[in-house]
């Protein structure tokens, strides 16, 4: 089983600061981590490898410091890492990201399964996985919370939906996006982390030329969407007074609780 895991390096905080002039995230002074959902994607790949054998490649697109995400992936037991880094990849929207990742997958040209985290904590779009599957013309199962069956040829997975879950199967190759309920992640091994820092470690760095793409196809130039403005929402406590007799007020209260899925 040849598995590719897509990982993203994100700031380790929910208190994200945004540059008001560019609308981009300010990463300085904030520790970077592998996106939490992507750690579950790595764990899923490791468990599949432990069951069926094969190998795992982790791909990360990002600046040069994203090498740490690749090294950490190797620390978990991933066999090979590829960092996609080039100045022209910067500022990519989900389409440009999916396209760039897709070109990397095409360059690898040998895979049975692609696993992505559901979404990244910095962008929260949940679009890159599905778009990548569309680009590659392969089936996708999103929001995977359990894998019921997997063989060299097919997969049957539990997919999280609002009212519970559904069971979906498809042939391979396919792409999964996984949610954190899928598994419990492990810690990276220190000896493998150390090996990952060695110049002989199985890590490759690919740029735009390696992927055969032009600057206008990727990054900010290749993006179909533009960030017009970004701001941190302010949350204010808002009180609401229910009126009417007791029965009416209780009914209204229950309706609101139900509407907000609180009961």
């Amino acid at each position: 089983m040849e598995t590719i895991v897509m990982i993203k390096q994100v700031p380790d905080t929910t208190e994200i600061r945004i540059d008001p002039s560019t609308g981009n995230l300010i990463r300085e002074g904030i520790e970077s981590i592998i996106n939490p959902d992507d750690r579950h994607a790595i764990e899923a790949a490791l468990q599949i490898k432990e069951k069926l054998g094969g190998s795992i490649i982790a791909i990360c697109m990002g600046p040069s410091q994203a090498i740490d995400a690749i090294s950490e992936a190797l620390g978990f037991g991933v066999d090979r890492g590829i960092l996609l880094t080039d100045k022209c990849f910067a500022g990519a929207d989900t389409w440009a990201t999916s396209f760039t990742l897709g070109r990397a997958v095409e360059k690898i040209n040998n895979y049975d399964l692609i696993i992505c985290g559901q979404q990244a904590i910095d962008g929260d779009t949940a679009q890159v996985g599905p778009q990548l599957a569309e680009y590659l013309h392969i089936p996708q199962i999103t929001y995977v919370k359990g894998i019921k069956e997997i063989t060299e040829k097919k997969i049957v997975a539990k997919r999280l939906v609002e009212s519970g879950y559904e069971i979906i199967g498809c042939g391979l190759p396919a792409l999964l996006t996984v949610v954190r309920e899928l598994n419990k992640t492990r810690f990276p091994r220190f000896d493998w982390l150390i090996d990952a820092c060695n110049k002989r470690a199985p890590i490759e760095i690919w740029n735009a030329a390696d992927l055969g793409v032009k600057a206008y196809q990727v990054g900010l130039q290749g993006s179909f969407t533009n960030v017009i403005s970004t701001y941190t929402p302010t949350f204010k406590r808002r009180g609401e007074i229910l009126e009417g007799d007791s029965q009416r007020m209780v009914e209204d209260l229950l309706t609101r609780l139900e509407e907000n899925h609180l009961v």
């Binding site: 740490d68 990276p188 150390i194 110049k199």
Partner: protein, 377 residues
């Protein structure tokens, strides 16, 4: 070629592991005087026990500085766990690496890496303390083995280790050390210590009554052995210093955080100049400790080990500095710091213990004094 910085990566991953697996349980281990065996299993699973073991025996072959980075982070949550790991990283197995035959290396080093064998380092004796030249535990030569008799006290992991590295006197009156396995006939674990702090050390008395030890388990014996052991201590001192550094950092960081949250008369504590000065002193001390410990950890001028002055200076400044800083942290927290609900009182008890673990800081002053006495000026 683009690669991660190994020290930074180790530190980052150690922090995450410690936050998730060690910090939440540290109070329980302290309250129950519990040796946290589960940590050692986890360290083995994560390939950490082999950090300094050569690659041919399954380890990573890294040096003292990497060990210091990991120990510092672990000590920020639980100093006892850090000392237990320190013995595995910087003490007993290094003797095997440097001074045993190939068969002994093959027997014990891969077993340590996989966590099947854990070591203690048995030096202190009830009547002579940690003075190597006066050791009374005796190894008598009898054909192809030695017969060991004596008692060791306050031995870290004494009750839990599988193999004890025992410093002793041989019947030719030379000082040396050997490996004694826990299932050796005549060996027993005596009373376990009930310390004020460092309560997860598994510290206990070891008793040897006519224990037969095979000749190949002798690591050092005869001329030059004492010098080799003293050189080894230069490394262990720095490991211990990094643990004191970790305790001090934890106390300082918690005090700083608290000083910004706690308000008095509408102002946070840190707005009060008197406390600002206290916090400033803590920050300066922590920074000085860190530089001295890191510098000693990267000093390899004595056959790969730091020298006696550098390592002793690091240990004195870090161990005594940690007592000072945990005390100041308690002042910042006031009564809450004195309560067992928070970690500050544990940090203070542990910092106090680190003055004694591995030999008192006053003994190190003797060593520095002797060094200065001989030094040409």
């Amino acid at each position: 070629m683009l690669r991660s910085n190994v020290e930074e990566l180790i530190k980052k991953c150690a922090i995450r592991f410690v936050d998730s697996q060690i910090r939440p349980l540290a109070r329980k281990w302290d309250e129950n005087k519990q040796y946290p065996l589960e940590n050692m299993k986890k360290f083995a699973e994560l390939g950490l026990l082999g950090l300094r073991i050569p690659k041919q025996y399954g380890g990573s072959g890294r040096g003292l500085f990497d060990a210091v980075i990991v120990l510092e982070q672990i000590a920020k949550a639980d100093a006892s766990t850090a000392v237990n790991l320190h013995v595995q990283l910087n003490a007993s197995p290094l003797y095997i690496m440097l001074y045993s035959g190939e068969e002994v290396k093959k027997k014990f080093l891969p077993a340590l890496v996989s966590g099947k064998v854990l070591f203690s380092m048995a030096q202190t004796e009830p009547e002579v303390g940690s003075n190597l030249t006066e050791l009374r535990t005796l190894a008598r030569s009898e054909g192809s083995h030695y017969v060991v008799n004596g008692t060791k006290s306050m031995i870290t992991m004494g009750a839990n280790a599988d193999v004890h590295l025992v410093y002793l006197r041989f019947d030719d009156d030379s000082i040396g050390c050997l490996l004694l396995e826990k299932d050796t006939e005549g060996f027993s674990v005596g009373k376990s210590e009930d310390f004020l702090g460092m309560r997860g050390l598994g510290s206990a008395e070891l008793v040897f009554q006519d224990c037969q030890v095979p000749e190949e388990n002798v690591l050092l014996k005869g001329p030059g052995s004492l010098r080799k052991m003293l050189t080894m201590f230069n490394g262990t001192r720095v490991g211990l210093a990094s643990i004191s550094l970790g305790i001090a950092e934890a106390a300082f960081e918690e005090a700083l955080r608290y000083s910004k949250l706690r308000t008095v008369s509408g102002k946070p504590l840190i707005a009060l100049q008197g406390l600002q000065w206290k916090l400033a002193d803590m920050a300066v001390n922590v920074e000085a400790m860190k530089h001295l410990v890191y510098s000693a950890a990267q000093d390899t001028k004595l056959n790969g080990f730091p020298d006696q002055f550098t390592s002793s200076a690091a240990r004195i400044v870090a161990s005594e500095g940690a007592v000072k800083i945990t005390n100041m942290a308690m002042d910042i927290f006031g009564g809450y710091g004195y309560s067992k609900e928070l970690s500050i009182e544990r940090y203070l008890r542990d910092a106090r213990g680190m003055i004694y673990v591995g030999g008192t800081t006053d003994i190190l002053r003797n060593a520095i004094g002797a060094y200065l006495y001989k030094k040409n000026v």
